[in-house]
């Protein structure tokens, strides 16, 4: 292929994926319509995730005024926020609950867009930016988890980081050293300590927010330029206007979500769901408390890791990640019906591992603890 042709093709490709000629008020607001059908609730999940992200930005900024990212002070400053700052407990609890809510919303959104085949041409770039957003969201969860520097935070992070190193056993020759080097590069030192805390803090507060903002911009631009995907194969019952009808409904969903979060944050400390020793400040010299586990949204890797051989799980993860990345191309011709089945399967797996992971673990390992 000649260079000119190549340029021409990529120009065409990009202009179809990012139809900037639609970048005006008329297309993005006035004329935009949303189909109404039995799956249209899926259109609200993305907006919900966006709302949770906004809550996280606000509460995170507020926490930033008091949090101190040092090994000696981190836990004390978090305690100070909870016990002494006016409204601090509420803000912190809101941040904790919303982080879980955001991950949940993102996962449901992922499954819904998959089931509705919203990744199909010309929306491939929107899907890819969505996959990036998923990764960034999980990275937010992982880095933010360490910051309070309590027992479960540090020990669970240690375990998570150790998983990277364990990959080394499956790599040949000098490559087997690489995972350790990668781990130590992320950690900044041989074991999880001050350097790790500083790095995770920088990631959580500066790097990830900027990356998510950039990706979110691309994602939302794609959605507004292309409009909503049809979602089902049949003709929709009707179309409703994006402005103001859909927007009003979307905002009501945000209002309900806010009330639920607010009630939870005010009435149920996130910590109450765990045993208290896990929230004591991390003490490198005392024994590791029992019940160290990652957050619930990592159960879908954690429990398989406990049950199955390590390499199998890692292989599965790698395949799943790769499939997510190339979904728009491999499922190009798949019918929405099969996609829905696949999405149900994935949802079933995630639900089973998250809700019944412990029971499944005992089933496989036999006997009680």
């Amino acid at each position: 292929m000649k260079l000119a042709e190549l340029i021409q093709t990529s120009r065409e490709y990009l202009s179809e994926r990012l139809p900037l000629k639609h970048l005006d008020f008329q297309h993005m607001v006035e004329k935009k319509e949303v189909p109404v059908h039995r799956l249209s609730w899926g259109y609200y999940t993305g907006g919900l995730a966006l709302f949770f992200f906004l809550v996280q930005v606000v509460t995170g900024l507020l926490l930033l005024f008091y949090y101190q990212p040092t090994v000696s002070d981190a836990h004390a400053s978090v305690e100070y926020i909870t016990d002494h700052v006016t409204g601090g407990a509420l803000i912190r609890n809101l941040h904790a609950w919303t982080s879980s809510a955001m991950i949940l919303a993102v996962l449901v959104h992922l499954l819904m867009t998959f089931a509705m085949k919203a990744f199909a041409r010309p929306r491939e770039l929107t899907w890819l930016s969505g996959v990036a957003l998923l990764g960034i969201t999980f990275a937010f969860g992982f880095t933010g988890y360490l910051l309070p520097w309590h027992q479960i935070a540090v020990n669970a992070t240690k375990i998570g980081m150790q998983t990277i190193e364990a990959l080394g056993d499956f790599l040949p020759g000098s490559m087997s050293e690489w995972p350790r080097l990668i781990r130590e590069t992320i950690q900044g030192e041989a074991s999880v300590g001050q350097a790790t805390l500083s790095r995770f803090y920088a990631l959580h507060v500066i790097v990830l927010p900027f990356s998510i903002a950039a990706m979110l911009g691309l994602h939302l631009l794609g959605i507004q330029l292309h409009g909503m995907s049809p979602g089902i194969d049949e003709e929709p019952r009707k179309q409703e206007r994006f402005f103001p009808v859909f927007l009003i409904k979307d905002l009501s969903v945000w209002g309900v979500a806010f009330m639920v979060l607010f009630v939870l944050a005010l009435c149920l400390p996130f910590e109450a769901l765990y045993a208290y020793p896990l929230f004591a400040p991390f003490d490198p010299k005392s024994s590791t408390p029992e019940g160290i586990k990652p957050e619930w949204y990592f159960y879908f890797v954690y429990y398989p890791l406990e049950i199955l051989p390590f390499w199998l799980v890692m292989l599965g993860q790698a395949v799943a990640g790769a499939v997510l990345l190339v979904t728009p191309w491999i499922f190009r011709g798949t019918s929405r019906k099969s996609l829905r089945l696949l999405a149900w399967g994935a949802a079933g797996y995630l639900l089973a591992m998250t809700l019944f992971g412990e029971q499944i673990y005992h089933l496989f390992k036999g006997g009680t603890l």
């Binding site: 005010l266 020793p277 004591a280």
Partner: protein
Amino acid sequence: MKHPFRYRWGIFLTLLLWTSTMRLRAYPEFREFIVKHSQKPVNCAFCHQHSDGPEGMAAGQIGALNADQLQRLARARSAFEPGQAVDSPVLNPFGNSIIQRVGKKKFLELRLHPSELAPLLDPASDLDQDGIPDVKEYLEGTHPVNPNDGNPRMLFWVNLKRNLLPLAMTFSATVAGLFGLFHLLRGFDRAARLSITKEITTE
């Protein structure tokens, strides 16, 4: 320089321990009972200052006490009868309240029947003010002096009752705000369409 110093402390402490009438140690029977009864992992910080119990060199353990604290410790250890004010530096407020309520003698007897401690405790006492009495927290394995730890369902209802007013305010603010926003959006939409029809009719 540090070690000889610690070393001497060690000798001093060992002597202290041996000469005291009762050998000081944690009472893991209670911890074991809580873990078994509540199915929750619980450590010594349930009653002690330090999560690994009273023995050791860390803050809140015997090795780190100063002279005044050692005196308080000795006083607490001789509180055999109930009702004496107890302020042991190795115990947390819950630990102190137990000794104060039942007395050291009875407490030592209870080691063989840790479940019988519960009815002896003050049923109304709620050290962390989280709305769940200490006795209940003892049986459920949630921390009696941590207001953020407790049976989630009970905590939720207690806090809900306490926060009804701000919740009602927030609820009305949300409803009013959404109501206003909807009508503003609708108003904008109507105004926009009105101007379009006007343009058409004037043409």
